[in-house]
């Protein structure tokens, strides 16, 4: 179990506020019918759900898991029969109504041994509308000694009828400056790189570690990709007008040739265009501080509304890429409208 606990420590660390709230709920014995764990990716929601289930069921009954009794051990090992976890099935993107119905037939009978049975729906924002509707009645009045935990990263896909049945617990993401501090102190990066990485990753520690190449499955290429891409973008205004379209298409061809990097590319583009827009007001807040002088030149050459148009174009492109349109065509369109506008 040492491996599991160390992993848990790293991930559950950010949500100490949420954990204390959960512990208080257990202490008072007021366990609600449904909890909604809301927070971005990588904030330890699943760990918190396990912690809560352990605390509810711990034989020592002191409001905190003892990690010694049979119940705590079973839950930590993932072998407890009354801890039901639901998530998207393998190779599926959504949680379907049949999964919810199956769960309904299970919880209709008594719990095996737990004092409080837990149904934890991970990535509950991936439930289809049908599945959500099928959940409503169970969620409002679950069988005795059963509670629900819905872990979500966003609330928009959930029905308002689901949201109003749950008690919400917020899981706070790390702020940019905290990630920056962590990268500097714990991983020994220099402050400038740490600033750029934390700005690009956007409050996601895993992403930040991946970009910095400290993680094993990291993207060491990112460090080369970023300066190259920014230089290419900055070269656009200087190219003569008749070559602009050609340059844009060429860049689009090169980027779409490596689809595995497209997310990183979009992240870099996002920071660049945001920097253009923000430069006018807060030049110290921009992400790519090492290109400050170049950006200043570019923003002198273009009107502010034009830079805002670029940003709108970027957001449109991002939306298209997410909705499975062809990468090459989408990027072609993006760069063409970028150089023409």
């Amino acid at each position: 179990m040492p491996a599991a606990s160390s992993e848990m420590n790293r991930e559950a660390l950010p949500s100490s506020l949420a954990l204390s709230e959960l512990a208080y709920i257990v202490q008072t014995g007021r366990i609600p019918n449904a909890l909604l764990f809301y927070g971005p990716r990588g904030t330890g929601k699943k760990q918190a759900a396990l912690f809560f289930a352990q605390a509810c069921n711990c034989r020592t009954n002191n409001g905190r898991p003892c990690n010694l009794c049979a119940s705590c051990k079973k839950i930590a090992a993932g072998m407890h029969p009354d801890m039901i976890f639901i998530g998207p099935a393998e190779n599926k993107k959504m949680i379907t109504i049949s999964q919810i119905r199956d769960m309904g037939s299970i919880i209709a009978s008594r719990a095996n041994e737990a004092a409080f049975r837990m149904v934890c729906i991970l990535n509950a924002d991936l439930m289809t509308p049908q599945a959500q509707n099928a959940l409503l009645k169970m969620l409002e009045e679950p069988p005795e000694h059963t509670f629900f935990i819905l872990a979500v990263a966003q609330t928009a896909p959930l029905l308002p009828t689901i949201l109003s049945r749950c008690r919400r617990i917020d899981f706070q993401a790390l702020a940019d400056h905290e990630i920056k501090k962590m990268l500097c102190t714990q991983y020994g990066l220099d402050p400038e790189t740490a600033h750029i990485i934390s700005g690009t990753a956007g409050s996601d520690l895993d992403q930040a570690l991946r970009l910095s190449g400290l993680n094993k499955a990291g993207a060491p290429d990112w460090k080369m990709l970023r300066p190259w891409l920014i230089k290419e973008i900055c070269r656009f205004p200087a190219t003569p007008p008749h070559q602009k379209a050609f340059k844009g298409l060429d860049l689009s061809r090169r980027l779409s040739a490596r689809p595995e990097y497209i997310l990183d590319v979009m992240a870099v583009l996002r920071t660049v265009f945001r920097d253009f827009c923000i430069l006018k007001y807060r030049s110290d807040k921009i992400v790519n501080l090492d290109f400050l002088s170049v950006f200043k030149d570019i923003s002198m050459m273009h009107s502010y509304t034009r830079m805002l148009t670029w940003m709108t174009l970027f957001h449109e492109t991002e939306k298209r890429l997410e909705s499975n349109s062809g990468t090459r065509l989408t990027l072609d369109r993006f760069f063409l409208s970028l150089v023409v506008s």
Binding site: E141, S164, Y281, K285
Partner: protein, 589 residues
Amino acid sequence: MSYQVLALKYRPQTFSDVVGQDHVTTTLTNAISGNRVPHALLLAGPRGTGKTTIARIMAKAMTCQTGPTPSPCNECRICKDIISGHCADVFEIDGASNNSVEQIRELRDNVAYMPSAARYKIYIIDEVHMLSVAAFNALLKTLEEPPDHVLFIFATTEVHKIPATILSRCQRHDLSRIALDKISDHLESLCRKEGYTVEREGLELIALEADGSIRDGLSLLDRILSAGPEKEIDRQMIAQRLRSTDRKILFSIASAVLERDGAQLIDLVSKINDAGMDLKEFYSGIIAQFRNLNIIRLCGKESPVLNMIETEKHELDRMCKKFSSAYLGMLLDLLLKEESIVRFASHTQTAVEMVLLKMIQIEPEIRLDEIITKVDLLARRMENRLGRAGVDAPASQCDNPARESVQPAEQPQPPGDPFTEKVPLAAHRPMPEPVPYEPAHEQVPPSDIQTDSSGSRSSSGPAPPLRQEQAHQGPPTWSQFMDVLQRDLPFIFGLFSKGRADTSNPDKVIVTLASCSGFEQSRLNTKTKVLTALSRKHLGKSIEVTIENNTGPADERFRQQESRQKAEQAATGHPMVQHAVRLFNADII
């Protein structure tokens, strides 16, 4: 018994306990006492307004042992069974999980049997909008004419998904959102029952967040009460525990937008993001804020549609006073337009920042009435210019002294406001001559008009001599002849306009055509007579057509050359040849 959340613990058990739905409860009470209860009821309304609750009370009222009564006793066996949810004659069906036609057929088969203990058999179908189309259709006949002992009660949040045939067979009751003060009153009474003292303003904050739904309000209250051991809770603690978008930040955002302070906006957004708040929720908070600003500007702060606390109303009122309603409307419009971008953006912070930065690019100073005045002024000037060009073009010299004589009289007038300028001048001169507007025109000459007028002046100079020349010439020119051709022989005109004409010869015109296809040549030959007649009539000369360069051999030679080039290209492009070139590092000669 494990802990029950407030929403379940205090679920109303009589019609009089239901909060804020008087229009429904009164109707149902009177229907019961008047013995006019319909066999099918449809309860529709947003989340957390009491649909399931009313359905259950209705079931109790109809089956209570004290007879169908508007106030069920809650003590007899049947009432208690219904409350605990295992009465044999009241079927509460989850429409969303039992939505197929099979399950409805089963229900229909069971409808015929008499109830076991109660007076009626009651089917409550919750979330009825999720039934499939086939299931709805299977229900139609039963719903229209059920046996005497059967009652249907449907509850749904999405009434638009229910087929019209079902709707027309039900008596529909729409539950409304619950007003702010009713929610806070209810919360206050519950807090007293639970033994907590909560500040009234804090409860209003919760009610505001609940957005018309009692259950939302109770869930929030639950969360706040169970977050700490205190029994007395004030406004600040609630704001802190809600941790939802803090109202203060919304106000600073609104004022930063109105003051057009970009740096402040960027700071605020990053502050909110660092505090771990949901930026998408925050964005809808901004939308609500600007909606309220718009309403206060348009309807005043006493408007009943505002869902706000008094102190906030005053602050917003003060904020929006100096801005036009058109400007505020534009801001709200932009927010709504960009909503989809914020929703789908992978990095919400950037998206929200961009929308706010776009908002401060809108100029509040541009007033529509000012634009109209300016356009009006411009149009007048244009009119004057045209009028002068048409009427007194030769008298342009005497225009100057007139202008100079007016100018001194004009100068004391403060420039800028067109209205104060116009009125006295119009009074001075009975005839609206162009002159009054001249001074303003001279001070700020719009570039395009200026160049236009100079152009027309210069063209009006040389124009008369040209006309004179034409009169001198008398006989019509080649171009005039072409006009005639265009009218009479359009094909020939097309041909001639490609070639060039030599009119220097006194008694004939030679038209040289660069090249001519066989078809064109034959057409030319057939029209020769007509052409000659025409040219004699209009030009007084004969016409001669020569065709250049239409020689076959030259064409042939060109074609040969082309084919040879092509063959050469193909040869050099051949992979074998290229390979050889690479191998020997050679040049092709």
